[in-house]
């Protein structure tokens, strides 16, 4: 019998799925390469055989000359098709796209992505560590060779959030230039958002008003467009890798980690002010692309479709929360590194869908690298300074402040026991009572499990802080939580037994099944009675009274029990 710690048991893994053999390529620094390469043979006659030049500007913050930009733009529009390569050094992956470019069209020749996770080292040490730097240099070198093989005339490179955050970003970029000859532009979050918009919308049949979301490793860009022009954008310092490193550290993530991440995202996005909700949402970034692949493979969604519904994502999440990264990698052809950050990616996309009131998303392969290629084709050498790329006006949204975990921790370490109890107890009560209405709806048996877990955590917190509480209201509150926990436990235990018996029944000879069916019937009868008792209890449960009892009981300074826990 297996007790499932995870709350998303609905997302069962189809039995017949074959493990996909990983064709991890080992590059110079020994890092796996994602299975994202697609290659078309270039048409040698279509590209000009000019020597490749390397372009880029280290500081994208200089003010543009509007006249010059305009001239560049016009002259670029008239330019012939040109083969270029764009390298994007992201927080999770370093990617390259090589294409024949015109201002409004890209003919992709080759693209590749390699998972390096710069963001991980920045989170741990504040810097890009030597192993990560070497991996990036090896990858850039490899991509430059690819560009050369495709006769690219120009190679453009950008670096994003993890590099922005790293203390040693300057020496990192200098090292790349020294070792490979390639200049890398460190772009701001707003430029990243604008490039994402240009790249993600290129060649798609989409409405002129649309939202574009790019879920990266350490940043997430959201752009809304009106009449095919950027109306608003924001770059948030959170991403799939960031969520993994800060919340979803277990493999697979634990229920309380998921709850905490969800709570953080919910609160964080509430502070975001999108002026107008987009009628449709296009999502890009490696997480979205890989989730779409998993959806197709595991849920057998339509092969050619690029759409994912909320239900698809929830089912994917079920897999990601039940299986280890290793299993996900084996079953669905992911690198293990990618598989580890996918739960963060899925959670972020789902919370964004909730926030933007979207029931489905369209996933595109295109993003920053394609945006770089188009911007260069449209606006010429000063592409980074063009107003459609360097958005710095009222269209830039305000970034909500992140809770500073480290300073919170330092601050918390100075808290007295009474103070931390006063803060923690009401928070746990809130989490517990939130489940009441869901359980009463009977839409998902897992809700009972989740409320039971919340009740256990609340009880454990009450046990821990009993000494800081006044005995009378505390005892009242404790006994009502205990009663709820007992009733929830009975229903849940029946569910676990029923599930176990039904699973075993499938593998049992027919002659033996009659007994199991009899047992299932009796347990279902018992469960029904327990659900009725639980419903009666929850219908009459007074959330506000519990909240008040706990708040009255918990004291910041006055001596309370002071003698410890006895429950």
């Amino acid at each position: 019998m297996t007790r499932q710690r995870n709350s998303t048991r609905r997302g069962k893994v189809p039995k017949q799925e074959q493990a996909v053999e990983l064709q991890e390529q080992t590059a110079q620094a020994g890092q796996p390469v994602e299975l994202q390469e697609s290659a078309k043979q270039p048409d040698p006659t279509a590209v000009q055989q000019e020597p490749a030049t390397q372009s880029g500007q280290q500081e994208p913050t200089t003010q543009p000359d509007p006249t010059a930009v305009q001239q560049e733009s016009e002259s670029a529009t008239e330019a012939k098709m040109m083969t270029c390569a764009a390298i994007d050094i992201g927080s999770n992956s370093t990617e390259v796209t090589i294409a024949q470019c015109t201002p409004h069209h890209l003919d992709i020749l080759q693209e590749q992505s390699r998972m390096i996770r710069l963001g991980e080292s920045v989170k741990e040490t504040g810097e890009i560590t030597p192993d990560k730097r070497d991996a990036v240099i090896a990858t850039v070198r490899q991509y430059l060779d690819m560009a050369k093989q495709n006769n690219a005339e120009r190679v453009l490179a950008v670096a994003t959030q993890a590099t922005r955050e790293a203390r040693n970003r300057d020496s990192f970029l200098e090292d790349i230039q020294r070792e490979t000859g390639q200049v890398v532009n460190l772009i701001s979050g707003n430029v990243e958002a604008a490039l994402t918009y240009h790249g993600a919308t290129c060649g798609l049949d989409i409405p002129s008003d649309v939202g574009v979301l790019d879920v990266g490793g350490n940043s997430t860009e959201l752009v809304t467009a009106h009449d095919n022009h950027i109306a608003w954008l924001v770059s948030l310092p959170i991403g799939s890798g960031w969520l993994h490193d800060n919340y979803l550290t277990s493999n697979p993530p634990k229920e309380d980690e998921i709850e905490d991440a969800q709570e953080f995202l919910h609160d964080y996005l509430q502070a975001l002010r999108v002026p107008e909700l987009p009628p449709a949402l296009i999502v890009t970034g490696s997480s979205a692309k890989e989730l779409l692949k998993i959806c197709k493979q595991a849920l057998h969604t339509e092969e050619g479709s690029s759409t994912m519904t909320r239900q698809d994502l929830v089912a994917c999440q079920g897999l990601l929360h039940s299986l280890s990264a290793q299993e996900i990698a084996q079953r669905y052809g992911q690198t293990r590194e990618r598989a580890r950050v996918l739960p963060g990616g899925a959670l972020l996309i789902l919370e964004m869908m909730n926030y933007l009131h979207q029931d489905e998303i369209r996933v595109t392969d295109r993003g920053v690298p394609e945006g770089v290629l188009l911007a260069n084709a449209r606006y010429g050498d000063k592409w980074l300074d063009h107003e459609e790329v360097k958005v710095e006006d009222e269209r830039v949204g305000q970034v909500p402040a992140l809770p500073n975990k480290e300073s919170t921790q330092v601050q918390r370490s100075g808290e007295t026991f009474a103070e931390s109890g006063h803060e923690e107890l009401p928070r746990r009560v809130k989490k517990f009572v939130e489940w009441r209405s869901k359980v009463l709806k009977h839409e998902d048996v897992e809700d009972v499990h989740k409320m039971r877990v919340a009740s256990r955590r609340l009880r454990a917190t009450m046990d821990a802080y009993e000494a800081t509480c006044k005995p009378k209201p505390f005892t009242k509150a404790y006994s009502s939580v205990k009663e709820a926990a007992d009733l929830l436990g009975r229903v849940r235990d029946a569910d676990v037994m029923l599930q176990h018996i039904q699973e075993q029944e499938e593998q049992t000879p027919t002659a033996e099944q009659a007994g199991m069916q009899w047992l299932v019937e009796r347990l279902q009868f018992y469960r029904k009675e327990q659900v009725r008792a639980l419903d009666r209890f929850l219908q009459n449960f007074d959330d506000a009274a519990l909240q008040q009892q706990v708040e009255t009981s918990s004291t910041k300074g006055v001596s309370a029990h002071g003698k410890g826990q006895t429950h």
Partner: protein, 197 residues
């Protein structure tokens, strides 16, 4: 169910870390009080109590995660695994007890005793009274064919239980070899004294 031991020496005006260390050390001692039953495979109630104490310690370490040394996080994962292993063992025990009740004659002393014990409440019986009543209901007794299936299912549960017990025991002894207790005590000792801020 193992009753939690009252905790002495808490000071609500002292830093949380100091109090958290005291609570966690008490919960760790409680866990090891029940560990003498690890080699007694059919000490059903005592192994269940071991699970409860593992859970209490785990929750304590989780609740006070921000106040305790980082090394405690590794202990949380081990405790979670122990709790899961003992959890499946307990599930087997409950099911085995239920199956034995179903297979006993309706007027058997076993059933009457089970009913009497379950009526005393959760402290005395791990089978709720309503569950026992639902299974020994004289109006819904299993037929001969159904009894055969139940007997086979009981046999499988017993085999499964033996495997689950071995898995738990091996993990327990691996933890002892790795000096789990000692490492956790050392980590908790770091917050023994009030933390200067």
């Amino acid at each position: 169910m193992a009753k939690a031991r009252p905790i002495k020496g808490l000071d609500i005006q002292a830093p949380t870390s100091q109090n958290a260390g005291i609570i966690a050390r008490t919960r760790l001692e409680e866990l090891y009080e029940w560990s003498k039953y690890v080699d007694t495979p059919y000490a059903v109630r005592e192994l269940h109590n071991l699970r409860i104490t593992a859970k209490r310690l785990r929750y304590t370490l989780e609740i006070f995660e921000d106040y305790l040394p980082r090394e405690c996080k590794a202990a949380v994962d081990e405790l979670q695994q122990l709790q899961d292993e003992l959890g499946v063992l307990h599930d087997n025990d409950v099911l085995i007890a239920l199956l034995r009740l179903c297979l006993a004659n309706q007027d058997s002393p076993l059933n009457n005793k089970a009913l009497a014990v379950s009526q005393k409440g959760a402290g005395k019986s791990f089978l709720p009274q309503e569950l026992v009543e639902a299974l020994v209901d004289p109006k819904a007794t299993p037929t001969a064919e159904q009894r055969y299936g139940l007997e086979q299912f009981l046999r499988k549960q017993e085999e499964e239980r033996a495997e689950h017990y071995q898995a738990f025991r091996q993990h327990w002894y691996r933890l002892q070899e790795q000096e789990f207790r000692q490492h956790l005590v050392e980590a908790l000792d770091k917050v023994r004294e009030p933390v200067a801020v």
